[in-house]
């Protein structure tokens, strides 16, 4: 049977994909531009026999997720920047306690309450842990509604594989737009892999303890070394990215999410016009970051142009990846601004023409 294509809104596609992945517990609190996800779960979760809770606050929601995860459930939450900020405390606890969960941040403009326009300015918050303590979460960066589906399902798998939260970093455009998608088959989620540590069904077994408190001298350091080893394994195994027309490119654009969609069409347009040869490296995971693939561009003496909807956050990781061995330039918008094809092509021209890196902020020009 041919796979059925559905026309779905990004936010709803995340919700449906989560249900197909076996998620049966969602707790959240409304915020634009991710509200359709919460609304979708409020309707669909009970239909699947799961639990939907509109919590009294974001902090309550993430702690409910903590509780459900401790009991072995596939569980999720979602929000946008300000709400994710509130959830950071709980996310830190989940990481410290080694509990899996999945969450989506459909980013709006910040800082503060900002606006509801699409942005990528929560990059640092996502890739650096975001809360207190020494931890990481796996960050997926979809650029189509189809990828929202595929990476949501993968996100649950990866979270369970490492007993660590994973997340989708989307933006308001991805959350709000509709696009054709092929929905995946439902999986039957089997929580038996968690019986060694999950709470509940405790009769006749040693007690399980889930905690992030380790007060005895040396225990926290030993635990954090254990976490560190896990993070190194994730860095070795879970990096994902897409290369597009990179081999013969004079300038390689590095962009993710919606910015990468625009960059891809800039690559095609520039090549059709016979101008500068552009290519695209699109990180699909932002942590772990495709450091080696980017370092290879430097080895090949290719110029790099970072195009992002934030003021130089992705740029920082790219520069760390090349360690001064390539010329890395920046084209940045923020607060709802979106790069255009023409801006990217023009910026690439400036990269080639200059012996020094250039930083381009179209709104300042």
């Amino acid at each position: 049977m041919a796979e059925e294509r559905l026309l779905m809104k990004g936010n709803e596609a995340i919700g449906e994909a989560a249900l197909r992945a076996g998620c049966r517990f969602y707790a959240g609190y409304p915020i634009t531009p991710q509200n359709e996800l919460t609304e979708y779960m409020s309707r669909r979760m009970p239909e699947e026999g799961g639990t939907f809770i509109q919590a009294e606050s974001e902090i309550a929601a993430i702690n409910m997720v903590y509780g459900a995860s401790a009991a072995g459930a596939r569980t999720m939450t979602s929000s946008s920047g300000p709400g994710i900020s509130l959830k950071q405390e709980g996310i830190s606890y989940l990481c410290g306690s080694e509990l899996p969960c999945f969450y989506a941040n459909i980013v709006r403009g910040g800082p503060g309450l900002g606006n509801i326009a699409p942005a990528q300015s929560d990059y640092f918050q996502s890739t650096r842990g975001g809360g207190h303590g020494d931890y990481r979460v796996v960050v997926f960066a979809p650029s189509t509604v189809q990828e929202l589906v595929d990476l949501t399902i993968l996100g649950f798998e990866v979270a369970d594989r490492y007993n660590n939260p994973s997340m989708i970093l989307g933006d308001g455009i991805l959350g709000q737009m509709m696009e054709p998608v092929v929905m995946r088959e439902s999986v039957t989620y089997d929580p038996s892999g968690k019986t060694g540590w999950a709470l509940g069904n405790s009769e006749g077994r040693e007690r399980h303890m889930i905690t992030s408190v380790r007060l005895a001298p040396g225990t926290l350091e030993r635990h954090n070394v254990h976490l560190r080893k896990k993070y190194l394994e994730i860095e070795a195994k879970e990096v994902r990215y897409e290369l597009y027309e990179v081999d013969d490119a004079d300038v390689v654009i590095i962009a993710y999410g919606t910015a990468a969609r625009v960059a891809k069409s800039a690559v095609t347009a520039a090549r059709e016009k016979g101008g500068i040869k552009l290519g695209l490296l699109r990180p699909i995971t932002l942590w772990p970051f495709p450091t080696d693939a980017i370092a290879d561009l430097a080895k090949n003496k290719q110029d790099i142009l970072v195009a992002e909807m934030s003021f130089g956050q992705l740029y920082e990781d790219v520069r760390l990846s090349v360690c001064g061995k390539a010329k890395v330039s920046l084209l940045a918008h923020t607060g709802g601004g979106l790069p255009t094809e023409d801006e990217i092509i023009e910026a690439a021209g400036k990269c080639v023409a200059s012996s020094e890196p250039v930083e381009i902020y179209p709104v300042l020009e």
Binding site: L7, I173, Q176, M177, M178, E179, K264
Partner: protein, 178 residues
């Protein structure tokens, strides 16, 4: 071929349904398509708009800055979007409600008394489908048959009673322009 359309009107004029139907029909025809709504500070009776792209190739951003085609269901929409249409593009004006003429001379203006036509078919609320029919004829973005067939997939359950009226309105709009 790529067609970029912005549809705009009062909340309640069925702008989102128009966009959804266009996008859905494109999907059924195996084309690439995106639908992007204005979201946030909209309210009933205020203005609503959405952008739809239909293309034979992958679509970069779903945000439409320079549309090939605008549907202005009310005067506020005409005022807001006239200046953004690409030179050589088309604006469809709902002349039942908008008496003002388009000021630019580098775009084509098609005036359609959509409410009156829909009224003649049974209910003025099908004005949106009349307009969409016109757009399909003029742009060839998707086949009108495919849009007619897709209607039952995108109409909400409570609007199903109006399925036949909507079909007629689409066809009538399609025949309205040359």
């Amino acid at each position: 071929m790529t067609t970029r359309v912005i549809m705009a009107g009062f909340g309640g004029q069925g702008v989102v349904l128009m966009g959804t139907l266009l996008s859905y029909s494109a999907m059924v025809q195996g084309k690439h398509t995106t639908f992007f709504p204005s979201y946030g500070a909209e309210m009933r009776g205020g203005t609503a708009n959405c952008s739809v792209i239909v293309s034979d190739t992958e679509i970069p951003s779903p945000v439409v800055n320079e549309p090939d085609c605008v549907i202005a269901m009310n005067i506020a929409s005409l005022d807001k979007f006239e200046s953004r249409i690409r030179p050589g593009g088309v604006i469809f004006v709902n002349s039942s409600l908008v008496k003002k003429k388009v000021a630019r001379d580098d775009i084509e203006e098609i005036r359609v008394p959509a409410n009156d036509i829909a009224e003649g078919l049974g209910a003025s609320r099908a004005a949106n489908m009349v307009m969409l029919g016109c757009v399909l004829k003029k742009t060839g973005a998707v086949a009108v048959d495919s849009a007619v067939k897709s209607l039952e997939k995108v109409l909400s359950e409570r609007a199903m009673a109006l399925l036949e009226l909507n079909k007629k309105a689409l066809q009538r709009g399609f025949e309205e322009v040359s």
